[in-house]
């Protein structure tokens, strides 16, 4: 059992629109991963839908490349929609 693969667990809460990552667990296969996720992460009515994904299938960005990946966005304030004047009386924009 020491070689059970790792799975990432995503839960959609009762009022949530999307599945949110909640943690990981070990399981021998997909079917048991889903059941383990039910037992480990939804014991207290946390969710109405579950996804499990093999951790090895997730492609992650490299922490060493953080600067090239994310820093260039720092000074691009024009990408935020803050340069429009909102007409008075418009509430839901």
């Amino acid at each position: 059992m020491r070689d059970w693969p790792l799975w990432e667990v995503f839960v959609r809460s009762r009022r949530g629109l999307s599945h949110v990552h909640v943690g990981s667990l070990h399981a021998p296969d997909a079917e048991l991963a889903l059941r383990n996720a039910r037992d480990v992460y939804t014991r207290r009515q946390e969710g109405v839908s579950l996804w499990v994904v093999p951790s090895s299938e997730i492609v992650a960005s490299d922490p060493g490349e953080r600067e090239t990946f994310f820093d260039p966005a720092d000074d691009k304030v024009y990408r935020h929609p803050t340069f429009y004047s909102v007409p008075e009386g418009v509430e839901h924009l």
Partner: protein, 240 residues
């Protein structure tokens, strides 16, 4: 009084099984399985509490769920032998859970439409829980039975060990709202389906004597009750 004995039998089955399941907490092969077995045990304990409370009401002399759980001796317990024997082997625990939860599934489904409003409500809630227990036991029976030569052999031995105690579930009981015998073919059919799918062989062994419904038990129940009851008996009314 017969309804009292009947409800007590169902309550004791769930209570004793919950206590045995509790043994696995911190001992299961993986943390995830530890939680799953604890969940299952707690589901059974919840069923036991509802059933014991109702048994107290039916009896009508003011005994509470705690009085019934903690202050009866083994000869007053009405559970079947299936649930009272130790289950310190994972294969045995899964084989037993497969048998017990399949029986509970059929029983609770039938009780849910019985004429007794309280039992019908308890059963209606519990049937969803035991369906999950059964699924858990089924998945492990399939994986161990159809796994390695070692796991196959041990799962077969586990099924053989539980099999003599299956028949007691169908023994006639006074006051039964669901005739135990009427569940026999459905329960056996569903268990055998899993056993065969797991590439295991359905045992052909003679039934054990049984007698739990009449208060006759194996030596193991006394030890289990000593564990379960000693705190309450040593410190009456203790809470935390």
């Amino acid at each position: 009084m017969t309804l009292f004995q009947y409800v007590l039998g169902l309550a004791d089955d769930a209570l004793v099984s919950a206590q045995r399941m509790g043994w696995w907490i911190s001992r299961a092969p993986e943390l995830e399985e530890d939680l799953a077995l604890a969940n299952i045990g707690l589901d059974q304990l919840g069923q036991a509490r509802s059933l014991l409370s109702y048994a107290g009401v039916v009896e009508g002399v003011g005994r509470t769920e705690d009085d019934l759980a903690y202050l009866r001796d083994d000869r007053e317990f009405r559970n079947v032998w299936l649930v009272e024997r130790p289950q310190t082997d994972f294969g045995v625990a899964m084989a037993r859970l497969l048998v017990f939860s399949t029986w509970q599934c059929e029983l609770y489904a039938a009780l849910a439409s019985s004429s007794d409003a309280t039992l019908s409500a308890i059963a209606g809630k519990a049937v969803k829980e035991v369906a999950y227990h059964r699924d858990h036991a089924r998945l492990w029976t399939l994986r161990l039975g159809d796994g390695t030569a070692e796991s196959h052999g041990r799962m077969q031995a586990a099924i053989e060990g539980e099999w003599p105690h299956v028949e007691e579930l169908f023994a006639p009981v006074d006051g039964a709202l669901v005739d135990p015998q009427s569940l026999r073919s459905a329960v056996l059919g569903r268990i055998e389906e899993v056993v065969v799918e797991a590439t295991l062989t359905v045992p052909t062994v003679s039934p054990a004597i049984g007698g739990g419904r009449h208060g006759l038990h194996t030596e193991h129940l006394g030890h289990l009750l000593a564990d379960m009851q000693h705190l309450h008996r040593s410190h009456p009314g203790v809470t935390w």
